[in-house]
């Protein structure tokens, strides 16, 4: 009983001492907080080192999205690259969980340290590909999905991807 009361009194004293400790609050927006590069904010689509869209419209980000706020449609260009015909994120639904970035096999979709994207009109929270696509490579410079994948595109024939042999001569029966 005595211990309990003593404990309460010590608590009161300790809390009272906090009168003299400075506040931890960061005065946003006058004062901007530091956001790490891996902060999960506004979503962007990046490009590969050649300046081409990294997104191959595989739909994994859309399916992993817990609020189903990503919609896209695959199409194919003259070079044989898959890319999204449209890519839409409804940020009024997005919860910035970063699952899309985790799921993305090509490092195309990335979350950035920018969270200041409020609008008075919800319709303006719907971002299309032209709003999402940036010119740079984002967090993973140097990665090119098609340099690794087996699918042929213009400028990369079969056998030219990472760790690939020359195409087989199927007429050969040599052991």
């Amino acid at each position: 009983m005595i211990n309990t009361i003593w404990s309460q009194l010590v608590t009161l004293y300790r809390v009272l001492l906090h009168t003299f400790t400075p506040a931890d609050t960061v005065q946003y927006p006058e004062e901007m907080p530091y956001l790490a590069p891996r902060y999960r904010g506004r979503i962007v689509l990046t490009r590969d080192p050649d300046g081409e869209e990294r997104c191959v419209a595989c739909n994994l980000c859309a399916v992993v999205c817990p609020v189903d706020c990503i919609a896209l449609q695959k199409t194919e260009d003259q070079d044989g690259r898959w890319y999204p015909e449209f890519f839409r994120i409804n940020f009024s639904r997005c919860i910035m969980c970063g699952m899309c970035e985790e799921a993305c096999p090509t490092y195309a979709i990335q979350l950035t340290p920018d969270f200041e994207m409020c609008e008075y009109d919800r319709q303006k929270m719907v971002y299309e590909k032209e709003h999402l696509l940036i010119s740079g490579q984002g967090k993973y410079p140097g990665y090119s999905f098609y340099g690794v994948a087996g699918k042929t595109i213009k400028g990369k024939a079969k056998g030219e991807a990472l760790n690939e042999e020359e195409p087989v001569d199927i007429r050969s029966l040599l052991p």
């Binding site: 191959v56 419209a57 595989c58 739909n59 994994l60 859309a62 399916v63 999205c65 609020v67 189903d68 706020c69 990503i70 919609a71 896209l72 449609q73 695959k74 199409t75 194919e76 044989g80 898959w82 449209f86 839409r88 994120i89 409804n90 009024s92 639904r93 096999p105 090509t106 919800r122 319709q123 929270m125 719907v126 299309e128 999905f145 690794v148 994948a149 087996g150 699918k151 042929t152 213009k154 024939a157 079969k158 056998g159 991807a161 760790n163 690939e164 042999e165 020359e166 195409p167 087989v168 001569d169 199927i170 007429r171 050969s172 029966l173 040599l174 052991p175």
Partner: protein, 925 residues
């Protein structure tokens, strides 16, 4: 029943099967690649390994392949032992050594058997850092994409293509780790069943190009169980949609009909739903002959006005429209003013089919066809007219090899061994057609006979059979004698015919022959292929008035339902149409009748409307809408029944959504009302509502979802229009809902809109829905066979044709083409590239009498169009027959006398009219 002991638990087995089948039938998750339920085992992939113990004391065991191990009573196995699972993991790791880093850009991703199996065995990290073998791809035509790097050499593709479907232009090349599956050189895969490679291949080597165009992962597809509209077989399909575009058609297993496979017309022909020739809105024809758009309400008001102020309104139904749509039309115009949309000739032929089905004659299902050991085909071009029938016949001729295997104690599923044993031994198959047949390669005898000669032969055989041996022996030809003895002595003989030549006498003679045969061999069966997807249904509904009869009654208003009358009226089409004052046409694709209509109403395609269809064997099956039609397009039955009851509703979609408030009260689905009227009015159709549950059907308190439980993009799909997500559309017309919520796993087969099971994302998951591998559906096979009887029909009297009476002049014979003869699927973009250009095929002798030679051009002028044909010389065509393809361009040619054909001077026809010049635009690197 033998019992297996697997991991200490007893599992039921079935004698004559293998352990893999037993495990899968018991629901065990056993990985496999090369085994296929329809193609048996070859033991190529080593994936289904497990441990077999010699006896109780044996704790070490030996690794065996479950697909190669026969079921024996009391045999002990372990699936979960470390040695077995480690072996399986090592096999996958080896298969994955050369597998490219392609999944994100692979059409198979998300429904890939290889992905599923890799996850199932637990192989996760790549250890091999060496270089991967690569291959160059080939162009394989407009349907199939080729990406050889992804191959795991399970050999399923060539086993299906060569051994099962009888193709000869896909093969395995190379040796050791350089095995290549493809053609000798780039080119179109010629087999009519090539599309199945997409489903047979366990990974993404062969992919669906029509899907790639509107590519959507399986989990995003909104699907429903549909009935193929390509021919009279009535194959079960899953049709899938996303963003209002039809994406693809996949096989829907039906034990008695299509099993695991579809033909390319069925698989790729459904793309007509996306055709630019779709009729998007109601139209009224102005003086210039163009169509002015009209609102649906105005169009309906106009039609009502026509009906009210016309002395006579007739309705022409259609054998390619659903029973419901036809019944709605029949109710609108009255039974006396309704025709089921078939010509007289077609009506008689389908009445014969109906009579046979309703009699006590043995009418096998497609699956049963494979069990007959002697088949006679009379004038039926199965491959082009009813393709899955040809596939079944191909399996039936293997019965000889199965018998041989039985004699030597080799199990039937031991595919490679059975084939090795049998070599070229095949069960007898005799084909009597006027032109070369795709089944000739497996036929023991191919007879090239003109239609009348087929009738004569058939009559001769039946007379020989019914008269007993000696008395008529001298009169019958040796061919007929041989045939008669073959059929009489066979264990189970089957006679196949159908409407493909359009000759009533062939069908009558077939029935007569079958009756005579059944008298001496009670196991004999008869199979008659019908014409269109609902031809038999139309004959059952109302087979009294033909199109010609009704059109001749000088109607003031004529309502045509999804029917191109040019194909029924031939050369007289233009004349008869101009006699009609008000022509109202409901259709979804452009055709000759549409282009002369006064009022055009936009009908929904099969993918947008409910409907019941009755296939060649009298099986009623329900087709369910995959997605809602856009704009003012509406199902025909809805358009017609609202004309009937003055319901004002501009849009079908609105009518669905507005009716939700009254669902609980007295609301009844419109389609259900029509079905009930059919049921009450026609006694043969009284079981029609058994083919699928109605709109009130619930599973665990909710409707059955059309989407997968992991459909994506719900809150973004329509966000560009409005960020406020609309309510999901309500479907009061069927037991399915446009939602991802609900229980798909427990839905009856007629309502199951996709197959999926945890861990089994590919179509291989179908075994989870079967009572045993290749068996009936766990929830019962969908559909209901309406016609059964035990009385034998009286034989038809056919005017006896003797050799002298057979005309010796040249005559036209229309040949069906799998690509092109069906006017609807012909409008599918990819399929249309494979339609042959009009030609006429004849043997050299006939060509000499006509005075033409190969490569010439012939032309004739019909009242409303001109037909041009290239001449092909082919000595494998029966004498005097001018075989031409049944295409939209050649409609009406049958009404032309062969003598009226004019030679075209300086004709520059296509090099090979049978094989259109496809443009090789694909990258094939």
């Amino acid at each position: 029943m033998p019992v297996l002991i697997v991991d200490g638990k007893e599992l039921p087995g079935k004698a004559g099967t293998n352990v893999l089948e037993a495990l899968l039938s018991a629901g065990v998750d056993m990985p496999y690649f090369c085994w296929h339920p329809a193609m048996g085992s070859v033991g190529a992939c080593r994936q289904c390994a497990l441990l077999q113990y010699a006896n109780d004391e044996d704790s070490h065991g030996k690794i065996v392949m479950s697909c190669m191990t026969p079921v024996t009573d009391g045999a002990r196995f372990s699936v979960s032992a470390d040695r077995a699972s480690g072996f399986r993991r090592a096999v996958i790791e080896n298969l994955m050594l050369n597998h490219p880093h392609d999944c994100p850009v692979c059409e198979e991703g998300g429904e890939c058997h290889l992905q599923d199996m890799t996850v199932m065995v637990g192989h996760r990290d790549r250890r091999y850092q060496g270089r991967k073998t690569t291959f160059k791809n080939q162009y394989l035509g407009p349907f199939i994409g080729h990406e050889m790097n992804r191959c795991i050499t399970c050999y399923r593709c060539v086993r299906f293509y060569q051994d099962y479907a009888g193709g000869n232009d896909l093969n395995a090349f190379g040796s050791r780790d350089r095995i290549f599956f493809g053609r000798a050189e780039s080119g179109v895969l010629e087999n009519e069943f090539a599309g199945n490679l997409v489903e047979v291949c366990p990974t993404g080597v062969f992919t669906d190009k029509t899907l790639a165009k509107n590519y959507t992962r399986k989990w995003d597809l909104q699907s429903s169980p549909t009935i193929c509209q390509g021919c009279s077989i009535g194959c079960n399909t899953y049709t899938s949609e996303r963003y209002g575009q039809l994406c693809r058609v996949h096989n829907r297993y039906h034990q008695d009909i299509n099993g695991y496979f579809l033909c390319d017309r069925g698989r790729f022909g459904a793309q007509h739903v996306n055709s630019p020739a779709r009729i998007p809105q109601p139209g009224i024809r102005n003086e210039e002959g163009k169509y002015d758009p009209l609102s649906l309400d105005d169009a309906k008001a106009k039609v009502r006005d026509f009906i009210q102020h016309s002395s006579r309104t007739i309705g022409i139904g259609s054998p390619r429209a659903s029973l419901e749509a036809n019944q709605a039309l029949r109710q609108l115009v009255g039974a006396g003013n309704y025709s089921n949309g078939m010509s007289r000739n077609e009506q008689v032929m389908h009445q014969i089919i109906l009579d046979v089905l309703a009699s006590g004659m043995k009418t096998p299902t497609l699956a049963e066809v494979a069990e007959f050991d002697a088949i006679l085909v009379l004038g039926e071009d199965a491959t082009n007219h009813a393709p899955l029938l040809a596939l079944s016949i191909r399996q039936a001729v293997r019965n000889r090899s199965k018998e041989m295997a039985g004699d030597t104690d080799i199990a039937e599923w031991h595919d490679a061994a059975v084939r090795e044993l049998a070599q070229d031994a095949l069960s007898p198959l005799v084909i009597a057609t006027p032109m070369p047949d795709r089944l000739d390669d497996v036929a023991s005898q191919s007879l090239r006979l003109a239609p009348e000669e087929i009738v004569a032969l058939s009559t001769e055989v039946s007379m020989y059979l019914s008269a007993g041996s000696e008395s008529t022996a001298s009169q019958a030809s040796s061919v007929a004698q041989g045939l008669a003895e073959l059929l009489r002595d066979a264990r189970r003989p089957l006679i196949v015919s159908g409407t493909s030549l359009g000759d009533i006498n062939i069908m009558r003679a077939t029935v007569n022959l079958s009756l005579a045969l059944q008298a001496v061999n009670p196991e004999a069966g008869i199979l008659l292929a019908a014409d269109e997807c609902n031809s038999v249904g139309m004959a059952m509904l109302d087979n009294r008035l033909s199109v010609e009869e009704l059109v001749d009654r000088t109607p003031e208003t004529m309502i045509v339902l999804e029917n191109d009358l040019e194909s029924r009226l031939g050369a007289e089409f233009a004349k008869k149409m101009s006699a009609v004052r008000h022509l109202v046409v409901l259709d979804y694709l452009d055709n000759a009748t549409v282009s002369v209509a006064n009022i055009l109403l936009p009908a929904a395609s099969f993918a947008e409307a409910e409907g019941t269809f009755i296939n060649f064997e009298g099986r009623a099956q329900r087709n369910l809408a995959v997605f809602l039609p856009q704009g003012s397009i509406a199902p025909s039955y809805y358009l017609l029944s609202t004309l009937n009851d003055d319901c004002l509703n501009d849009s079908f979609n609105d009518s669905l959504n507005n009716s939700t408030e009254s669902v609980s009260s007295s609301h009844q689905a419109r389609v259900q009302t029509i079905i009930e009227s059919i049921r009450d009015e026609f006694s043969p159709l009284k079981r029609i509502d058994e083919c699928a549950p109605d709109a009130d059907f619930l599973v665990l308190g909710s409707k059955i979802p059309r989407m997968t439980h992991r459909a994506s993009g719900r809150t973004a799909m329509q966000a560009e229009v409005s960020v406020h997500e609309p309510k999901q559309p309500v479907d009061t017309e069927s037991a399915l809902a446009f939602t991802m919520e609900g229980n798909q796993q427990q839905a009856p087969a007629s309502l199951r809109s996709y197959v999926w099971s945890p861990g089994w994302n590919s179509n291989q998951s179908i075994y989870k829905f079967q009572t045993e591998v290749g068996g009936a559906d766990t929830m019962g096979n969908p559909g209901v066979r309406l016609l059964q009887g035990d009385a034998m029909p009286a034989p038809f009297t056919i005017a006896p044709t003797t050799a002298a009476q057979i005309s010796t002049g040249p005559r036209f014979v229309a040949q069906h083409h799998i690509f092109g003869s069906d006017p609807v699927s012909s409008q599918a973009q990819e399929l249309s590239t494979r339609i042959p250009t009009p030609y006429v095929r004849m043997n050299t002798e006939t060509a000499t009498t006509l005075g033409v030679s190969g490569g010439d051009g012939l032309a004739c002028q019909l009242p409303h169009k001109r037909i041009e044909l290239s001449v092909i010389l082919d000595d494998d065509v029966a004498a005097h027959c001018l075989v031409y393809p049944k295409l939209v361009q050649t409609i009406g040619l049958a009404d032309v006398a062969p003598g009226d054909l004019q030679r075209i001077a300086g004709w520059q026809g296509p090099k090979d009219p049978l094989k259109p010049n496809l443009i090789l635009t694909d990258r094939t690197g």
